[in-house]
Amino acid sequence: MNFLNLFQGIGTMFHQEPSIVILRIVLIFFGGLLVYLGKKGTLEPLIMIPMGIGMIAVNAGMLFLSGGHIGNLIIDPLLSSTDDLMKYMQINFLQPVYTLTFSNGLIACLVFMGVGVMCDIGYVIANPFVSITIALFGEMGTILTYPIARLMGLSSGAAAATSIIGGADGPMVLFASLKLAPAYFVPISIVAYLYLSLTYGGYPFLIKFLVPKSIRGNNVTHRKTRHDVSSGQKLFFAVAICAVLCLLFPVGAPLFLSFFLGIAIRESGIVKYVNLIQEVFLYGATFFLGLMLGVLCDAKTLMNPIVLKLLVLGMLALLLSGIGGLLGGYFVYFIKHRNFNPTIGIAGVSCVPSTAKVAQREVAKINRSAFILDYALGANICGVITTAILTAVYISVLG
């Protein structure tokens, strides 16, 4: 028996183009690096550990399929005909998960429902205008990346989907790329999640660079707290905002419904549903999200030249949004006659609750008694709402 036919993971390397083989090997080591950085806590472990292992398995586990094709028994994201889909759903073990939860946006909506359950809308109700203002500034990357992406040769749909990476909201990027650029859904999602997990590590440097120590420890006085708002009021607000947003942007209705349903369940106090969504849906969806992103990273998919452009644009979008958020913090700081901490601005970038925690942590390093988490969470939750609004507008305008 031929050695290369017996050990087909190695054998396929001798039958593929050298560039693909090199990328396969690089991705196997890169997957290992993601697992290591996830374990270390540098990157988000909930996504990176399943993603890293998935990346290793899909690039190592290539084999010869019928007709001399080279593929794997895990997933084929490029299937389009119904016959092929039905056939491969019974062959590739993750194909059903991809087809029935990933490519229709269900997994994004489940994550969004979980985000809703985690969000206390009381922070927004306490300071709606401040929170919305910061969140809108935090969308700078979502807006400014679009023309740059178009200049770099991306189609309008792909440019918009890439720009939404600036909103720092994973489910939103998945949803937008499915609607606006289904052909680039895989690379855009991979780039988005790779960078999103970096915000936790990268934004503190941006804060240190843009907010001087003298004002980074500012506390906010004369504040209105979320304790003034009852859970009945919060539920009422969630229902009203959900209805208005669904009326205005039916294209974003799945996201609005998922997010506000999460909030409504939290405020209704249905503990069993809260536990179901938070412990089962959210963690289950995040696990499969990480694993799917990993197995979608096969060398052939990433050989697409657009990936390089997406890597540049994704980083630019998040950088611009971070800068925009801090500018928003400064804007409110001057409007409120310096009774504000501009660091809160970073929380306008809606990576719930990471950026709010980053803001509080950086402020506490300078002034241990300073507490800005309430304002930061308000801006954070409004960031989710504004990103959902801008995503829906992009889809409505370009769709």
Binding site: V124, I125, P128, F129, S131, I132, A135, L136, E139, T142, I143, L144, Y146, P147, R150, L151, S156, A160, S163, V229, Q233, F236, F237, A240, I241, V244, L245, L248, C382, I385, T386, I389, L390, V393, Y394, V397, L398
Partner: protein, 41 residues
């Protein structure tokens, strides 16, 4: 020019809708507080 038009349109609508939502929250908040005060009295 068309390239710039899309993001301007998006942020324009985004600002109007976002502040609309903030105003709605503020308005409802004021109403809810008035009603609860009246109930207490």
């Amino acid at each position: 020019m068309m390239t710039l038009l899309v993001p301007l349109q998006v942020i324009g609508i985004g600002i109007v809708v976002s502040y609309g939502i903030a105003s709605l929250i503020k308005g409802l908040d004021v109403c809810v507080r008035r009603f609860s005060k009246a109930d207490e009295q």
